[in-house]
Amino acid sequence: MRPHLELMDRALVERVLGEAFELLEDPGVRVAPYAVELLREAGARVEDGVAHIPEWLASRALTTAPHEFHLHNREGQAVVHYGGYDVQFDPGSSCLNILDSESREARLALAADLVRMVQLAEMLPEYSAQSTAMVCNDVPQDAGDWYRLFLVLYYSAKPVVTGAFSGPSLATMLRLLTLESGGELELRRKPRAIFDVCPSPPLNWSEFASENIIELARAGVPAEIVSMPLAGAAAPITLVGSVVQHAAECLSGVVIHQTARAGSPIVWGGAPAIFDMSSGTTPMGSIETAMLNVACSQVGKHLGLPTHGYLVNSDGKLLDAQAGMESGMSTVLGGLAGINMISGAGMLDSLACHSFEKLVVDAEAIASVRRLLAGIEPRGASLATAMFAQTGLAGDFLKLKETRALFRSEQHFPSNLIERGGSGSPELWTRAHERVQELLAGYERPAIASERQDDMLAFAEEQAERHDLLRLPGIYQQRQSA
C-alpha cells in the first residue's frame, strides 16, 4: 500500500471548489488587456478589467485540460510524468543569492554559480528535473530569463522547470527551446521544459502573466500555474480560505489557458504560504505552508489535474538543524500528498538564497521519502513465520538467504553524507561540502550534437550582442578552463 496524506475530506474539497467557482463570478478576476477579448469571446463578462467567469466556462475548461503529460530529456525520452501520484523534485528557482561555500555567507549569485548548481543537480538522481535556479547577477536583467535557460540547456540533459518574467523573454526562451528540440512540432510533441506562470494574489493576472499563459498555451508548451495566496495578508487568514483563493486563481488560469488553446498541458501548481504576523515575511518552511501545499494539491487531484508545490526549503539562513527540520518535514508531507513536481530544494532564507551544500542534503531527504512512498509490502507467502522457521529463537537473521535477497529493496542506503555509526565524522557542513566536491568532480557534460550546440551558441551570441553582454558568462570561462 502506498501511503497517502489528505488534509480535507471530500465534502470540504467540494465546498472549496464551490466557493472558488463563486469567487470567479463575484468579485471575479482582474485580468490584463491581453486576456480580455479572449475571455469575453469565450463567454465571460469583462468590465473595468475584471472578468466575471461563469461556472460553466470553468467547467468546460476543466474538461479539455489534460490529466497527464510528460517532460522529456535531451534524448527525447519521457522522464518526468505529471499526473496521478507520481512525485518528482526539482531545485528551487530564481533566487538572488548563493550561500558561498568558502565564507558560508550569502552573496549575489553569478552565472558560474548557476552552472555549478546545474552540474550538481545533474549528478543527483533525486532531482528529476533542473530549474533555472538563480538570477545571474553578472548578466543584464533584460537577458536574465533566456540566459538562465540557455545555461541549463547547455549543461544538462534533464527536463527544466523555468519561467519568464516578461513577454519578450518568453518569446526568446521559446525560440531557444525550439532550436534545442529541433523544431516547433518536436517541442510540442516532446516538451523539454515547463514554465511557471504566476497570478498575483488575490485573483489578478498581470499583463506579463496573462501574456505568458496565453502564449504558452498557443505554443503547446506546458505551463505550471504558481498561485501564491499569502494567508492573512494577500489571502484569507484561514488555511481553508487560502485554499479557496488558490483554487479560484488556478481555475481562472485554466480558463484563460484552455480558451487560448484547448488541450495544452497545464499544471495546478503554486507556492502558497502563510504570512508571518510578527516578521511580515513568508515562512516557506512553516508547517502551515506545507499544509497549504498539501491541501491545494488535493483540490487539483480531485479535478484530475497534474499538480505542483513549493516545499523542501527553509527560512533559516544556514545549513543547520532548522534547515534540516523544515525541509525534511515538508519533503515527507509533499511526498505523501503525491504532488507531481515539488520545487524548492536547496533553498534557504525563505527562497532568497540557494546552497549547493543544502541541495545535496535535501537529496538525501528526497531519497528517504522515495523509500517511504514505496510503503510496506509483503515479500512472500509468509510475512515472518517462514524466516522464523529457519532461525528459531536463535534469531540469526543475518545469515538467511531472504535477508540477502531482500535487504536492498527493504532498506534505503543513504550516501556517506548521512552519519551512521562510526567514531564521529566532521560536522554536516563539511560532509555536505565534500559531497558537493565529489559530485562535481564526477560531472561530465551530457553529449549534444555538435551542430545543435553550434546553433544554440550562435543564438546565444546573437542575443547577447543585443543585450550588450560582451561574453557568455558561465560558458567561455568553463570552456577555457576545461
Partner: protein, 225 residues
C-alpha cells in the same frame, strides 16, 4: 483632563478600538483640552507601547494595523481642531513610498506607510509599479526627507538601484535619505546600491526612519544578519 482620560486614550490605541479613540478625541475637543496634550500624552504613548509589545512578540501585525486605525480615527478628529487653532501636529518627517517598477506587490509597503503615519510621519504613497521618473517627480513635488522603496521579487529589486541612480543623475540624492525593503532585500544589497538604510520589517522601518531624521547612527539598530 485627568490622567485616567489619557490612560483611556492610550488603551484605545492598544486595544485597536477606533470608535473609542474617536469618542475620546471628541470628548477632548468638547472639554477644551489641548489636542497636542491628548496626542502626546494619550495616543502616542499607546502607539509606543504597541511597538514595544510587537518587539517582544506579544502583539502582532494585525494588532498593529488595528492600533494604527485607532490612531487615524483619533487624528481625524484632532487634526481639524489643531488647524482651527493655527497649529498642527509636529511632523516627524515627510516620506515618499512606492513599490518599484515591474512589481505590483504592495502589502509590505502599505504596512510601512500605515505605521509611519501612525508615528507622525506625513506619507505620500505612490503605489506599486513606480518608475524612477515618478519617484524623481514626486521628490520635486513634495520635497521629502525620506524615500522608501519596496520590492518583493528578485527580478524587480534591481529597480531600487535604478531609482538611486536616477536620484544621482538628477542631483537629488543629497536631498533625501533612501530606505529599501522587501522580501529579497538585505542590508548588503542596500549598501551595494547606495541606499542609506534597510528595514527588515515595517516596525524596523519606523525605527530607521526616526533614526535617519534624528541623525542617530544606524548601527544602533543593527541586528546580526
Amino acid at each position: 483632563m485627568s490622567d485616567s482620560m489619557f490612560s483611556a486614550m492610550k488603551q484605545s490605541i492598544v486595544d485597536g478600538a477606533p470608535e473609542t479613540a474617536a469618542t475620546l478625541a471628541e470628548q477632548c475637543v468638547s472639554d477644551g483640552v489641548a489636542p497636542l496634550d491628548a496626542i502626546n500624552q494619550g495616543y502616542v504613548p499607546g502607539m509606543h507601547f504597541v511597538g514595544e509589545q510587537f518587539g517582544l512578540r506579544k502583539m502582532f501585525l494585525p494588532d498593529m494595523m488595528a492600533s494604527a486605525e485607532a490612531m487615524r480615527a483619533a487624528m481625524n478628529i484632532l487634526d481639524p481642531q489643531l488647524k482651527r487653532m493655527g497649529n498642527s501636529r509636529p511632523c516627524a518627517g515627510v516620506v515618499i513610498l512606492g513599490t518599484v517598477k515591474g512589481d505590483i506587490h504592495e502589502i509590505g509597503k502599505c504596512l510601512v506607510g500605515t505605521l509611519l503615519t501612525a508615528h507622525g510621519f506625513r506619507v505620500h504613497d505612490l503605489g506599486a509599479d513606480v518608475s524612477a521618473d515618478k519617484f524623481v517627480a514626486a521628490i520635486r513635488q513634495h520635497n521629502p526627507d525620506l524615500i522608501g522603496m519596496s520590492a518583493l521579487l528578485t527580478t524587480t529589486m534591481k529597480n531600487q538601484r535604478t531609482v538611486v541612480e536616477a536620484l544621482d543623475k538628477e542631483g537629488l540624492r543629497s536631498r533625501v535619505k533612501v530606505m529599501v525593503g522587501g522580501a529579497p532585500v538585505t542590508r548588503q544589497w542596500a549598501a551595494e546600491i547606495g541606499a542609506d538604510a534597510y528595514g527588515k520589517d515595517a516596525v524596523t522601518a519606523v525605527a530607521i526612519a526616526r533614526a535617519l531624521m534624528e541623525g542617530t547612527p544606524l548601527e544602533v539598530l543593527a541586528e546580526p544578519q
